[in-house]
């Protein structure tokens, strides 16, 4: 998963567990950037009677660094409050929910949006309504028109915000990848799968049919960037107060906020940071990521790929060049650039999202690069490695296939940017959990407009 249940501690605290961050120039409003942070992973839609919600006791933030020092210059803070319409009822809703203020909806959630920047702390809005969870056809009929879209709120100044349940758009063959690194489409090459007699087969999107809770905010580019610095760094954090006392019916929360989760680039804490450091990474700030740089420069996964996928045929390795790179102990400057500093100018003609020498895990978006139309010749869910500068690692769009991109990057597909003599292994073209790329099944796909993530799956039509 991109960052679902990725570390021991946060896997036990779902409401504070960030799952994905997206940052992209809005395709339908290219003078704005859309920032999305998802939380509460792997929601089975039939989640009653206490359906999923944000944590009232969690401080959610989306941070933007706009001068390259890896310290937040603008932070959007989101605080939630749950209010019961009918505390005496055990039900989430006592009849069909036809609007955000419907009295049939018992457990409503509201939130505030606060901007923290150099000039201070500014409450942008409060008491904004979240939509309900998509309970089912009887409880939440005509969900998107009556509940989803009305929960898109204007913040003025050409900004809008949404917070609530959405369809999970991140796709991955979770059940296979974490089963000894198996990629079903090429599993006949996996040492373990081959021994088990498994033949190549299509990947299975383990997240199809599941929901997340999403915080999305759309902001004019002019409000996020400063002169001479078109590239922004984006990450999200969740924080809890330091003390909690279980005291009868009412829990006591006290003390300053302390960070328990963070996420910038996808899959980093998932597969780059070792198990013993994951909780520490979640509590750390991007500006201090130099301490983790060795894991980016020498990723364990790069060493595992030639072991898990040894031979195309007897005597013919799958990843001979990657294996040689690993054996030589070569620091992966390509991965450090992509994930920790941004890509400097001169490596890819006409492209840079370099933010400076500070090594920091942030999702970097060059806001001067216009969105790539999905009908354009160079549009690709493989983003930059396929010649589409509008996609990851230049920010991240909802549809980008970040699993394949990062697998191929770790396998060395762009190492020749650093060493022009290096020839990436030909097998990289088949490294993916879904082949052909883009063939993952996603029943409720992304929307064309804000908040972009699809309509949440309803509990009645659950897949199981």
């Amino acid at each position: 998963m991109s960052s679902h249940r990725e570390a021991p501690e946060i896997s036990k605290d779902p409401v504070a567990d960030s799952t994905d961050v997206y940052a992209f120039v809005s395709p339908d409003k290219p003078d704005t950037v859309t920032l999305i942070a998802n939380y509460v992973p792997l929601q089975e839609p039939a989640g009653g009677p206490n359906f999923y919600e944000f944590g009232d006791d969690v401080l959610y933030e989306i941070h933007v660094d706009n001068n390259g020092d890896a310290v937040a210059d603008i932070s959007y803070q989101f605080r939630f409050q749950t209010k019961l319409t009918t505390p005496s009822s055990f039900l989430y809703n006592t009849g069909p929910i036809s609007s955000l203020s419907d009295p049939n909806w018992n457990s409503k959630q509201f939130y505030s949006v606060t901007q923290v920047d150099r000039s201070g702390t500014h409450v942008l809005a409060s008491d904004l309504a979240c939509p309900p969870c998509n309970v089912g056809v009887l409880s939440t009929p005509d969900y998107e028109a009556k509940l989803g879209q009305p929960a898109v709120h204007s913040l003025g100044n050409d900004m809008q915000v949404f917070a609530g349940q959405r369809a999970e758009e991140f796709y991955v063959d979770l059940g296979s990848i974490f089963d000894l690194g198996n990629l079903r489409p090429i599993q006949e090459l996996n040492a373990f799968a081959k021994a088990a007699g498994l033949a190549a087969m299509p990947g299975v999107n383990a997240t199809n049919g599941l929901n997340v809770h999403s915080i999305a905010i759309q902001v004019p580019i002019s409000a996020l960037t400063i002169s001479g610095h078109p590239t922004i760094g984006v990450w999200t954090t969740a924080s809890r107060q330091r003390a909690r006392v279980f005291d009868g019916a009412e829990n006591i929360f006290s003390g300053p906020w302390t960070q328990v989760s963070r996420l910038g680039n996808p899959l980093i804490n998932e597969v780059i940071i070792p198990l013993g450091e994951k909780d520490h990474w979640n509590r750390s700030q991007p500006v201090h990521d130099k301490q983790f740089a060795t894991y980016y420069a020498h990723p364990e996964l790069a060493a595992l790929l030639p072991v898990l996928y040894p031979f195309l045929a007897p005597g013919k390795p799958v990843f001979p060049d990657l294996a040689a790179l690993v054996a030589a102990g070569t620091a992966r400057a390509d991965l450090e650039a992509i994930l920790l500093t941004g890509i400097p100018s001169g490596l890819i003609p006409g492209f840079t999202n370099f933010t400076g020498a500070v090594q920091a895990d942030m999702l970097r978006l060059n806001t001067t690069i216009p969105p790539t139309s999905t009908s354009a010749k160079n549009y690709s869910i493989l983003g930059l490695i396929a010649g589409d500068p509008g996609g990851f690692p230049n920010g991240r769009r909802v549809a980008d296939d970040v699993v394949t991109i990062e697998l191929r990057a770790v396998a060395g597909v762009v190492y020749n940017l650093i060493d022009p003599k290096y020839v990436p292994d030909a097998a990289i073209a088949d490294v993916s959990d879904f082949l052909p790329v883009g063939s993952a099944t996603i029943t409720n796909g992304p929307l064309a407009a804000f908040p972009y993530l699809g309509v949440p799956y309803d509990g009645y039509d659950q897949k199981f």
Partner: protein, 109 residues
């Protein structure tokens, strides 16, 4: 009904010479009555109302006891050195008070 430990703790803490008011263990954990802690010599360090920008933090050291509307939670990090954290609202005060730490430690049994 308070346990014997709680009663003993209350008695010990109530006898604290540096505190202007009565201080029970329960009130140390929650409630404005624990405002006695504010009367101690304290040093406010690095309290942060927001992880985003520490500049928004407000140290508690100058607060009056009446300003604490909510619970106060005390964390004795190290009784031997008197290292104590006092949480209130979204702020934190760090104390170095071996006497208070010792009294709380005794109250803890």
């Amino acid at each position: 009904m308070p346990s014997q430990d709680a009663t003993r703790a209350s008695a010990e803490l109530a006898a604290a010479p540096t505190e202007p008011g009565r201080l029970s263990r329960r009130s140390m954990l929650r409630g404005a009555a624990a405002a006695g802690a504010a009367g101690l010599a304290v040093t406010a360090i690095g309290s942060a109302a927001s992880p985003a920008l520490a500049a928004t933090s407000q140290p508690l050291a100058q607060d009056s006891p009446q300003s604490h509307a909510g619970p106060i939670v005390v964390h004795v990090r190290d009784a031997k050195s008197g290292d104590i954290e006092v949480f209130s609202g979204t702020s934190e005060v760090r104390l170095r008070d071996t006497d208070l730490a010792a009294r709380i430690a005794r109250a803890a049994g």
